[in-house]
C-alpha cells in the first residue's frame, strides 16, 4: 500500500472516530445516568454487555477505526527509528500482525457477547 493511501485511511478513520468516540464517552457517562450506582463503584456486567449488544455495529466501527488509525500512527512514529529504510518492511509486518491480533480479539468479544 502506498504511504498516501495509508494516510487517507488514517484520516478517514480519524473522522469516524471523532463521532463514534464522542458517542462512546456519552454512553459511559452523561447519557448513562448512574451506571455505577449499587455496584460498589464498578461498571456492572449487565450494563457493559447490554451496550455491546445494543450498539454492536457502532462498537465494531469504533474497534476497526481505532485500531487502524492508532497502529498506523505508531508505524509512522516508529518509522523514524528504522534506518536504513530498507528495514521498514519488518516494522510494517509487526504492525499488520498487531492489527490482526487486536481486531480478532475485539471482533471475538463483539460476536461472543452479541
Amino acid at each position: 500500500m502506498k504511504e498516501s493511501w495509508s494516510m487517507i485511511l488514517t484520516y478517514a478513520c480519524a473522522m469516524i472516530l471523532v463521532f463514534v468516540l464522542t458517542f462512546h464517552f456519552l454512553l459511559q457517562g452523561p447519557l448513562a445516568g448512574k451506571p455505577f450506582e449499587g455496584t460498589g463503584g464498578v461498571l456492572a456486567f449487565s450494563y457493559a454487555a447490554g451496550n455491546l449488544v445494543n450498539f454492536e455495529v457502532v462498537f465494531g466501527l469504533l474497534l476497526y477505526a481505532a485500531i487502524l488509525h492508532g497502529l498506523n500512527g505508531v508505524r509512522v512514529i516508529a518509522l523514524e527509528w528504522f534506518h536504513p529504510q530498507k528495514k521498514a518492511w519488518l516494522l510494517n509486518l509487526i504492525i499488520v500482525v498487531l492489527m490482526a491480533f487486536f481486531l480478532a480479539l475485539g471482533s471475538y468479544t463483539l460476536l461472543a457477547v452479541g
Partner: protein, 151 residues
C-alpha cells in the same frame, strides 16, 4: 555502516518542543497523546474481552481495577485529556492537511523566514483548541474525581 548524523537523536528530538513555536508544541503533544491512547486502547480491548468470559470474570477484573483507588481515576483523567486534545487537534490537522484550510498562501522564502502555515487563522485555531480542551479536561476531572454520575 556509519549512521547519518540526522538519525542520531531520532524520536526523542522529534518530541522536544522547547525553543520552537506553537505548531511544534501541538505536534509533540499530538504524538505523546496518541501513544497514550494506543496504549490505553490495547489494554481496553483486553479489558472488554473479559465480557465474553462471563459475569464473574468481568466483575473480578473491574474490582481489581477499582482497587487501584485514585490511581485508576487519575489514569482515566489522563486518558480523557489525551483523547480530548488528540481529537480536537486532529480535526485541525485534517482541515490543514486534507483540505488546505487555515493555512496561509505559499510565498517566496525570504529571510528572516516565517512559516506561512502559522498565520492568524492557524494561531486562533491552536489557542481555541487549547482553551476548549482545558475547560473540558477540568470538567472531566470534576466528573471523575467527584464521583461518576454526579456532575
Amino acid at each position: 555502516m556509519k549512521k547519518e548524523p540526522r538519525y542520531k537523536s531520532g524520536l526523542i528530538s522529534s518530541l522536544n518542543p522547547f525553543g520552537y513555536n506553537v505548531e511544534r508544541w501541538s505536534y509533540a503533544l499530538h504524538r505523546v497523546t496518541g501513544v497514550v491512547l494506543i496504549g490505553y486502547l490495547m489494554a481496553h480491548i483486553f479489558e472488554t474481552f473479559e465480557l465474553s468470559m462471563g459475569n464473574t470474570a468481568w466483575t473480578s477484573t473491574m474490582n481489581a481495577l477499582h482497587s487501584l483507588g485514585p490511581l485508576e481515576l487519575v489514569g482515566l483523567w489522563i486518558v480523557a485529556g489525551s483523547a480530548l486534545y488528540h481529537g480536537a487537534n486532529g480535526i485541525r490537522l485534517i482541515l490543514n492537511e486534507m483540505f488546505g484550510k487555515l493555512m496561509g498562501r505559499p510565498i517566496l522564502p525570504v529571510y528572516p523566514y516565517s512559516p506561512t502555515s502559522l498565520g492568524r487563522n492557524q494561531r486562533i485555531a491552536v489557542w481555541t483548541i487549547t482553551g476548549v480542551v482545558l475547560v473540558l479536561w477540568v470538567w472531566a476531572g470534576l466528573y471523575l474525581l467527584t464521583g461518576l454520575g454526579v456532575v
